[in-house]
């Protein structure tokens, strides 16, 4: 069990051991409750059919919200990145969650990411701008380049969220001001194609 926990993001051997000891100390009740909730985790969680974000039903509250700007899509690697961008209260468009970034070392090619769905959305006609907010890392940058290439077939402006993001910094480590600034100063990577 310690090994399983230690493989989770943010948990090391030490903290995993602490969790296991904590569960042992607390007695069987706590462990039972945790096991129950783990069992239903996947059953009770839905992914938005449109953007791929975590939701409690088929369409998430952002995609459903009539006040959101449906002409802009911000592409993020994962759900956490979306939450962080959302917490800036600055962005009013829609999202698209890729489910990661290209990384052959981890066996992740384009087929493992939610790219077909994204192209479908972009091709539907309402979308004017796609902001690519993958992490500023070799993998995130390559993924951005890949998406920009695919998107050159559509009549959309593709921009890259980038300015002000520190070297190797994951989006989830950034402060809100930095994200707001980079949203304002996003750079265009492909001219609009006629």
């Amino acid at each position: 069990m310690i090994e399983i926990l230690a493989s989770f993001p943010g948990l090391g051997k030490k903290s995993s051991r602490r969790i296991v000891f904590h569960l042992l100390e607390k007695g069987p009740q706590t462990a039972f409750k945790l096991a129950e909730s783990l069992k239903t985790l996947h059953e009770k969680t839905y992914f938005c059919l449109s953007c791929g974000s975590i939701s409690d039903r088929d369409e998430c509250h952002i995609c459903k919200d009539p006040s959101r700007d449906k002409t802009v899509i911000c592409v993020v690697e994962n759900f956490i990145d979306q939450i962080i961008l959302e917490s800036t209260n600055f962005y009013n468009g829609l999202y698209h969650v890729l489910g990661g970034a290209l990384s052959p070392l981890d066996g992740i090619g384009p087929e493992k990411l939610s790219i077909g769905k994204l192209l479908e959305r972009v091709g539907s006609g309402d979308v004017r701008e796609v902001i690519i907010a993958t992490n500023p890392s070799p993998e995130g940058n390559t993924t951005a380049l890949y998406l920009a290439d695919l998107m050159s077939d559509f009549r959309v402006t593709v921009t890259r969220l980038g300015r002000g993001i520190p070297v190797g910094g994951d989006i989830d480590l950034l402060d809100l001001e930095t994200i707001r600034l980079s949203l304002e100063g996003r750079i265009q990577i492909k001219k609009q194609v006629d």
Partner: protein, 362 residues
């Protein structure tokens, strides 16, 4: 800059040593195994947060002790500064002027020591990996953007090589290399550009030093040999795909770059004598020192561990002369007479983890 005071506690074979250093040349001499290298290593540790050979901290702790401490008082641009590091219970703490530093990277750049050692000559005699490493260390320390590009290049390269394997196993398509190649060339172009500029600067510096010191090199030259030239990286990367798929590795690119030293028109790695190679290497390091000075506005502290072996008397005299022109040099040798007594500011007799300071060599 120069170090005024060094204090070691349970570091290597030192139980408790307090050393006052002078400006100019400080000579540490003593028998083999007395602790000269260990003492110089302490200055490296406090500058870079790691020992010269990157030994694990537990090896730096004196046998039968549980932790060590090193502190240093040095003058930088006319102001005193204190740095200290404590290691105990497998935890490191860094302090600057009694203030705790958050992370190791806050320490780096405060005190700069440039270590010279006999192994430096590997840069000339050994393979291209050693030369790239020397160049990359220099560039990374004066240019943060370079360090970032290099790291990202290496990561992208590993991704591309993993992709080659996936393509061979029919798990990925050949077309997927396109974007990795673009990324590699983006980082790679910057690396090649900066390396080219740096080789030019090093060449000019070495030529100037050689003339100034009247070294017996005629027609010194240095040439950068990039595996792929500037502007052609992207194109060549994709052209190499067939070959790369066969060997399952990226056969050309900045990770295969090299540079050559020439003396009298001949490749120094092949034709120069051992002593000539050592001298050339010494000049290469001094050329680096000038670059650090131009970058920081002040000379770093030069730390030399036995770098005079295999050099003839007249060459040593020329180097001595040059060394007196730097703010501070720490020099260690088993031989108390490696250099002329008259140019030494302070002698330190090292024996069994004890250091005794003398004005004269006794």
């Amino acid at each position: 800059m120069f170090i005024k005071h060094l204090h070691l506690k349970n570091f290597r074979n030192y139980e408790n040593a307090s050393i006052d250093l002078d400006r100019g040349i400080n000579l540490f001499f003593g028998e083999n195994g007395s602790g000269k290298t260990n003492l110089l290593d302490a200055t490296h540790y406090i500058s870079y947060g790691k020992s010269v050979r990157n030994s694990p901290e537990d090896e730096l702790v004196r046998f039968s002790s549980t932790g060590f401490a090193v502190s240093v008082v040095f003058e930088k641009k006319g102001e005193d500064c204190t740095l200290s590091v404590k290691y105990s219970d497998r935890k490191k703490e860094f302090w600057k002027n009694e203030m705790k530093l958050e992370k190791k990277s806050d320490l780096i750049g405060e005190l700069t020591v440039i270590p010279f050692s006999p192994e430096d000559a590997d840069v000339i005699s050994q393979g291209s990996a050693q030369r790239r490493r020397a160049l990359d260390i220099l560039l990374s320390s004066v240019d943060g953007e370079y360090l970032k590009s290099l790291r990202w290049y290496n990561k992208t390269l590993r991704q591309r090589n993993a992709l080659l394997e996936r393509i061979r196993n029919k798990e990925s398509l050949e077309t997927e290399t396109v974007h990795w190649d673009k990324m590699l060339s983006l980082y790679g172009e910057y690396i090649v550009h900066e390396r080219g500029k740096m080789i030019e600067i090093l060449r000019d510096n070495i030529s100037r030093l050689a003339a100034e010191m009247e070294t017996p090199f005629e027609n010194f030259d240095m040439e950068y040999r990039p595996s792929l030239k500037r502007g052609e990286i992207a194109e060549k990367m994709s052209a190499n795909l067939g070959r790369d798929l066969k060997s399952l590795t990226t056969t050309q690119g900045p990770h295969r770059d090299d540079f050559v030293f020439y003396i009298n028109g001949q490749d120094a790695s092949k034709f120069a004598s051992r002593g000539q190679q050592r001298l050339l290497c010494f000049m290469f390091r001094l050329a680096e020192v000038d670059i650090y000075r131009d970058n920081a506005g002040e000379y770093p502290v030069i730390v030399i561990d036995e770098a005079f072996i295999e050099l003839d008397k007249s060459t040593v005299l020329k180097l001595e002369d040059k060394l007196t022109s730097y703010p501070q040099v720490l020099l260690a040798s088993a031989d108390g007479n490696v250099i002329s007594e008259k140019i030494v500011s302070a002698f330190f007799n090292v024996s069994g983890g004890y250091v005794e300071k003398n004005k004269k060599n006794k």
